[in-house]
């Protein structure tokens, strides 16, 4: 077994009386792409949002269990929640640029964490836009509103914005579901390159995409963890009949 970067232990999540995640225990390996698969509404997004406590924003949510990041339970009292979130970059399902220019979007993170305007910030912004594979397309449009970019570009902008606060983990919530095939390819390529430096958790309900990206797979079904393991094992010899049925496309 590996030493997990994130270790989820007996995690239960309720929305009002709806039991969304049921006793989930799973480890997420460091600097690998872990793909979370499962049909819609099985709790994939909830699992993801538990890892950076964005789940706190939802009304009427109740969480029990532990999420350990490098051994520290992020749900414990006294944990610096803004620091937890800074370390867990999020790429949302729909690109969510902030209502400001391309440059200001990327610079937002460093600025709230105290960075001053100037050459250093400019260089950092450029470096992150390059890492997201967007620099060449936007270098002449930095002052334009981010909402003017194409959807695919916006998603890479969100990636750059996430990278700039130096996260350790990238949480990706079906980040390509709103994109055209070319943009999907683009994002996937960036992520495969980024796994050298980041632990990536990638939620998707597209099996082919899971197969392209995954080093490690978690299969959720109706809020329960059905099976997890290396991509090879899960995709070629799943142990659980439900996993097998899902992978063979008997239900989705």
């Amino acid at each position: 077994m590996f030493e997990p970067h994130i270790s989820i232990q007996e995690l239960n999540v309720f929305y009002e009386s709806h039991h969304v995640l049921k006793n989930v225990t799973v480890g997420i390996p460091r600097k690998k792409i872990t793909v979370v698969i499962g049909p819609s509404g099985c709790g994939k997004t909830t699992l993801l949002k538990s890892m950076n406590r964005l789940i706190d924003l939802i009304d009427g949510v109740k969480v029990s269990g532990k999420v350990l990041v490098d051994g520290v339970n992020i749900f414990e009292d006294g944990v610096d929640i803004t620091d937890v979130r800074r370390r867990m970059g999020l790429i949302a399902q729909k690109p969510n640029p902030l209502p400001m220019s391309v440059y200001d979007n990327v610079a937002y993170g460093p600025r709230i964490h105290g960075a001053k305007n100037g050459k250093d910030l400019n260089q950092t912004v450029e470096r992150c836009l390059r890492a997201a594979g967007l620099w060449d397309e936007v270098k002449g449009r930095l002052k334009e509103p981010a909402s003017k970019l194409s959807v695919g570009q916006q998603q890479r902008l969100c990636l750059a914005r996430a990278l700039i606060v130096k996260p350790e983990v990238l949480l990706c919530d079906e980040p390509t579901s709103a994109l055209d095939p070319m943009s999907v390819q683009h994002i996937e390529k960036q992520l495969l390159g980024l796994k050298e430096d980041y632990t990536i958790v990638f939620v998707t309900h597209i099996l082919r995409q899971a197969k392209r990206l995954a080093d490690y797979v978690i299969f959720l079904y109706l809020g329960e963890l059905v099976e997890c393991g290396s991509a090879e094992t899960i995709f070629s010899q799943p142990r659980n009949p439900r996993t097998k049925a899902y992978i063979e496309g008997l239900f989705s």
Binding site: N52, L54, L57, D59, T82, D83, R85, R86, M88, G89, L90, A92, K94, N96, P97, L98, P99, M100, S101, Y108, G109, I112, H113, P145, A146, S147, C158, R161, A162, V165
Partner: protein, 268 residues
């Protein structure tokens, strides 16, 4: 449907036409650059600068005062109070307040003034009109803030922003055009209301020099002048109405232009 459209557009055009037509003989440069001579009720000379300045000061002051109360309430309702009982009760209170006739606000302010033993003044006009426009402004802002998508806030929080940073740097930016509209809406309501200021702001031929002076307002300039038996002075009432219309109209044009400018960065 066509008839209804005609009523809407027609009533605007006819109203503007009547007011302009009737006021035209009295319209002159001196009308907007001089204070009245010979008393506002009887005088046929001079202008209504007193009322123009008075109205702008009063509506401006009231809008500013209402703004500093409205914005925190709107942001609090959304970001902190959520769906709590307090939030829905606050919204209900605002809706009820919004339905209270403006003369009641005036009477309310007047009672306070009597109790404190002070004279009608610009300050009391500002306070009363601020209360009058507060519910309009707050509810308009509330709707704007509520329309901010959750994803936008998530994006900010996910980068490690605090609640305050998210409110001040992201939500307020997204809401800026809507907030601006709310402010101008309130200003328009404030500058046009006569009943609320009738009792608390007084009326005078002079431009106010301090917050404690009584102050003339355009709606009351119309009201007083139209009530005279002299056709010459009645014409001046219509001319005053033209000035008031002009101010309100240029405001709404300005607000459209400004909104367009600030919409540039807004995420849809």
């Amino acid at each position: 449907m066509a008839f209804s459209m005609l009523v809407v557009i027609g009533s605007l055009l006819v109203m503007v036409a009547v007011v302009v037509f009737k006021g035209a003989p009295a319209l002159s440069i001196s009308m907007i650059t001089q204070t009245p001579r010979g008393g506002y009720y009887l005088g046929k000379e001079g202008g209504i600068l007193n009322a123009i300045v008075g109205s702008l000061c009063l509506a401006g002051g009231a809008t500013a005062l209402a703004f500093v109360i409205s914005l925190p309430v709107a942001l609090y309702l959304e970001e902190y109070a959520g769906k709590s009982k307090l939030a829905s009760f606050t919204r209900l209170s605002l809706d009820v307040l919004g339905g209270v006739p403006s003369i009641v606000y005036g009477a309310f302010g007047f009672t306070f003034m009597l109790y404190l033993g002070v004279r009608a003044s610009l300050l009391w006009g500002i306070i009363t009109v601020a209360l009058l426009v507060l519910p309009i402004m707050t509810r308009a802002m509330d709707e704007v803030v509520r329309a901010i998508p959750l994803e936008l806030r998530e994006a900010s929080y996910a980068l490690g922003a605090t609640k305050l940073e998210t409110v001040l740097k992201v939500m307020s930016r997204q809401a800026l055009p809507g907030i601006l509209t709310a402010v101008l809406l309130a200003f328009g309501r404030g500058i046009g209301d006569s009943a609320s200021v009738l009792l608390v702001a007084g009326y005078t031929d002079y431009i106010p020099h301090s917050l404690f002076d009584p102050v003339a307002t355009l709606p009351l300039a119309v009201f007083f002048q139209i009530g005279t038996p002299f056709p010459k002075v009645q014409e001046r009432a219509y001319a005053s109405a033209v000035v008031l219309l002009g101010i309100v109209l240029s405001l709404s044009v300005a607000s459209r232009l400004l909104t367009k400018k600030f919409m540039k960065y807004v995420v849809k």
